[in-house]
């Protein structure tokens, strides 16, 4: 059994929180350049110009890319042959979030749902654990902003609605969301599982790089079809019109009950901040 001291988890998580909020991933930067070049409208080009200046400034000054530094969301793959010593793994992750959000001057957005009182340290983190073979620990972190998260939806389609029903729901959702979630967005789509599992799939889909095609060519083709359809809405960057309403669509699928077709759409803003570390 391989042992990892809790302090290493704490330091790693704190570092991930700070870096994710400060440095926009390279795939998103490339998508900005490609989409800006394709736009004809001056307003759309201007939004991309500002977003580029913004990420350059964040790198230079150490300020976060966006004031909404998110709720801390983690997907953790825990190898069967590894254990964390000195502290429970979930607690070590929370401790890392406390440290990262404090040291990085990141906004603490976690609050009581009813009194709205701020927790003060951005915990508890939302953590999804998976047991996997091996002696490694893989931690994926996402700083999930509230504005785009609010535009997300889950629904239970009838099996007969199939792919056409999925497409219709996703396009309709984005049309209704319009400028609200800071377009151009990235869409995480969860298809299958159960009522509760589809949104987890949708969120996990957002961890994938924009460049990474789905390994199943049939699902990769569905992603491309949805992306093209959503972009025809013409909402454009910040809702000001144009060709880029969405930078990418990522679908994750799992088998579901024969009576069900669960569908979740997790909307991510253009500031797609995530990090992945394997220990």
């Amino acid at each position: 059994m391989r042992e990892i001291p809790a302090q290493q988890i704490i330091d790693t998580v704190a570092d991930m929180c700070i870096k994710a909020n400060r440095y926009l991933p390279a795939d998103v930067k490339r998508a900005f350049d490609a989409c800006a070049a394709a736009e004809d409208l001056p307003a759309a080009k201007e939004v991309f110009r500002q977003l580029k200046e913004n990420y350059e400034l964040a790198e230079e000054t150490g300020l976060p890319l966006c004031q909404d530094t998110g709720l801390a969301v983690f997907f953790v793959d825990v190898g069967d042959d590894v254990r964390v010593t000195g502290m429970n793994l979930r607690e070590a992750i929370n401790e890392g979030v406390r440290k990262g959000y404090k040291d990085g001057f990141l906004r603490k957005s976690s609050c009581d749902p009813m009194t709205r009182k701020n927790v003060g340290d951005n915990t508890p983190a939302i953590v999804h654990f998976d047991m996997v073979p091996g002696d490694k620990l893989k931690i994926s972190f996402m700083a999930k902003g509230g504005g785009s998260e609010n535009m997300s939806r889950v629904t239970m389609l009838a099996p007969a609605q199939g792919w056409e029903g999925i497409k219709k729901f996703v396009i309709q959702r984005l049309a209704e969301a319009g400028p609200n979630p800071c377009p151009p967005t990235i869409l995480g789509i969860g298809v299958g599982g159960t009522f509760d599992y589809a949104p987890i799939l949708a969120k996990k889909a957002l961890m994938r790089s924009l460049d990474a095609l789905h390994p199943d060519p049939k699902i990769a083709a569905m992603e491309q079809e949805l992306l093209a359809a959503v972009n025809k809405l013409g909402i454009g960057p910040m809702g000001l019109g144009g060709k880029t309403t969405c930078l990418g669509v990522k679908i994750e699928m799992r088998p579901c009950h024969l009576a069900s077709l669960p569908l979740a759409v997790n909307v991510q803003c253009h500031s797609s901040r995530h990090q992945e570390v394997e220990i």
Binding site: V47, Q67, R107, K108, R116, G120
Partner: protein, 185 residues
């Protein structure tokens, strides 16, 4: 589409010349307030007490900034989504609020209030929090400190870049989604 440099407080004449799509470089004092602060403001009005700042001619920026690192007046400070403040905005416009700054769509009631009370809704670029903080030269908490990022702050801004999304004539800048092209109709 014109470009204007405006100074706070804003007057009816300032607002009346603005049309959707105009760019405004704003200089002066603005106030931050978002969800929890708006609830407090309206409770204060209900009790008949005085608000922590003068509404006449003023602008509210819907923002919850990140903490200021050493040597800076404020952290990242981009707009939050505005619709959550829609239920509060008409009342504040009725008391002289001349503008709000945020991102995303407003309700019919807010658009009606903009027409009635000669006010405007301005958009700032969502997610450009680092960039926008460059235009903020000073910041201080003036009310509800216990709300943390949601406290009301008085900001001094210089050439803060805004886009007129809804003007006082009923115009709106946002693109209508083309449902037909996307295959929905």
């Amino acid at each position: 589409m014109a470009e204007y440099s405006l100074k706070t407080p804003l007057t009816d004449a300032d607002i009346q010349k603005l049309k959707v799509g105009d760019v405004v470089k704003l200089t002066g004092t603005i106030y931050t307030a978002r969800d929890a602060a708006h609830k407090r403001l309206v409770e204060t009005l209900d009790k008949g007490d005085e608000l922590p700042f003068r509404l006449e001619g003023s602008l509210i920026y819907y923002v919850g900034p990140s903490p200021a690192p050493p040597g800076r007046p404020i952290g990242a400070a981009g707009p939050t989504t505005s619709y959550r403040m829609d239920s509060y905005a008409p009342r504040l416009h009725g008391l002289g609020l001349k503008g709000t700054i945020g991102k995303g769509k407003r309700s019919e009631e807010v658009k009606q209030a903009l027409r009635e009370h000669k006010a405007a809704y301005f958009g700032a670029t969502g997610g450009a929090g680092a960039l926008l903080s460059k235009c903020i030269t000073a910041a201080k908490v003036i009310a509800y400190e216990e709300l943390g990022p949601e406290a009301i702050r008085e900001l001094s801004v210089k050439d803060f870049p805004l886009l007129v999304i809804n003007d006082c004539q009923g115009g709106e800048l946002y693109a209508k989604p083309d449902l037909k092209a996307a295959g929905l109709e």
